[in-house]
Symmetry: C2
Subunit: 290 residues, 2 copies
Amino acid sequence: MKQDVVNDHKARAAAWFEDLRNRICAAFEQLEDDYDGPLRDLPAGRFARKSWRREAVAGDDSDTGGGVMSIMRGRVFEKVGVNISTVYGKFPAEFAKTIPGAAEDPRFWASGISLVAHMHSPLVPAVHMNTRHIVTTKGWFGGGADLNPPLPNDQDTADFHAAFKAACDAHDPAYHPRFKEWCDEYFFIKHRNRARGVGGIFYDYLEDDWEKNFAFTQDVGRAFLDIYPKLVRRHMNKPWTAEERETQLIYRGLYAEFNLVYDRGTLFGLKTGGNVEAILMSLPPEAKWP
Amino acid sequence: MKQDVVNDHKARAAAWFEDLRNRICAAFEQLEDDYDGPLRDLPAGRFARKSWRREAVAGDDSDTGGGVMSIMRGRVFEKVGVNISTVYGKFPAEFAKTIPGAAEDPRFWASGISLVAHMHSPLVPAVHMNTRHIVTTKGWFGGGADLNPPLPNDQDTADFHAAFKAACDAHDPAYHPRFKEWCDEYFFIKHRNRARGVGGIFYDYLEDDWEKNFAFTQDVGRAFLDIYPKLVRRHMNKPWTAEERETQLIYRGLYAEFNLVYDRGTLFGLKTGGNVEAILMSLPPEAKWP
């Protein structure tokens, strides 16, 4: 592919992730403003932004990109992080072997958005969403979203799946069955023999048609932006019990176990000098293993 | 070595771990009884015991041992687990290659005691202790203890190190410098670029002289039984602030990170079908990543 086409693709993908970040943060701040639940006496939360530069590593370029964390600790969102990053450089030799198109040439470029929300109310599901575009000698999109309710609610689960099914079906009828199953397989806590949450979609290595895959990735972001705030509004003003909060804190222990023991991104980041604060923003603000 | 000698060694080691468990549990219950601090209105804690059998795996024997968990949730000890186990069978082929003496013959026998204490008071250090005897075609002892204060206290640290230095020096003057350094290397949270705690000792593969190594391992247990309750008594009745408690909960987040990302025993156990409840007893009862 011509370099100017690749550069155009990179620029459009990175701009989209930034735009999606802005829209999500605005929608979440609106939820904070509209809140009228048990913690209404707290101030409405606002996102704080913090940028970071990726550290140059041996044999790598000096300017290797970076990212911006957006963190909010509010009255609906106990802790939510929306990270965007665009990083580039060379993969370490051993790691390059495991990445499509990098064995021949270890140079890479990667841009994406990653979001984890942990909620005050145990009645409001926690959520994770991430989409990314990676370029080596190949170029592909990946990502997904999954719902993590401490107290699963069948209607929420059905609506969340329906939103992503619609986003998938608009592009390829084969997507949703495949990506829903992939999500269930990926977010499984083997040592607990249970799923982390109630699922969603997970996809990776979409590289057949850039425009098609970019449009799909955008629709995944839009589906998230549409459905998740609806689920939050559905439950956010309801009172909860101490017992429900305890269930949530114990559920968060499982969530932390998954992220620290199994999550590919977390482990890769921690073991290769990624931005620790950004990576571990996914951990719950409070958790219990009683 | 003659089989009856090996059998005698196994029996004596397993009996010691059980005896040490009994003595530690009695000492910890005495601390609960003697407590006169901020949570004195809670009932004094008592250990509850729960035994488990190791699950037979493909190609393994049907009777493969098991263990006994002793758990106490008290007014000094927020959550403490003292596990003993004696398990045997065959290592999976890939794993056998990584274990001394198992490449030739994958059969193993392993017995040990493992203890983690998380305290209510942020002024009382948390602690970890483990000693074990493993027999393949070789046989060796390993273990150690390390102190994990949320708010480090120089006198506690000095006394803890002195106790294990005395235990080491009685057996070999080269032990303490080596095992203290090994502890610092092992309990290091690389992604945080900091130690998990203030150290102690860590040793492994002691196989030169069974009687000498068993006597040393017993003295490590005795040193722990002597020093740790002293450190608890030194601080347990003092009041603490909400800010100190918050520091403790955040410190426990780091502790959980180490155990789930790096700890050899935890990861091996989780990924090979060990007893999940016993393995994860080490996780803190409550932790924060604010």
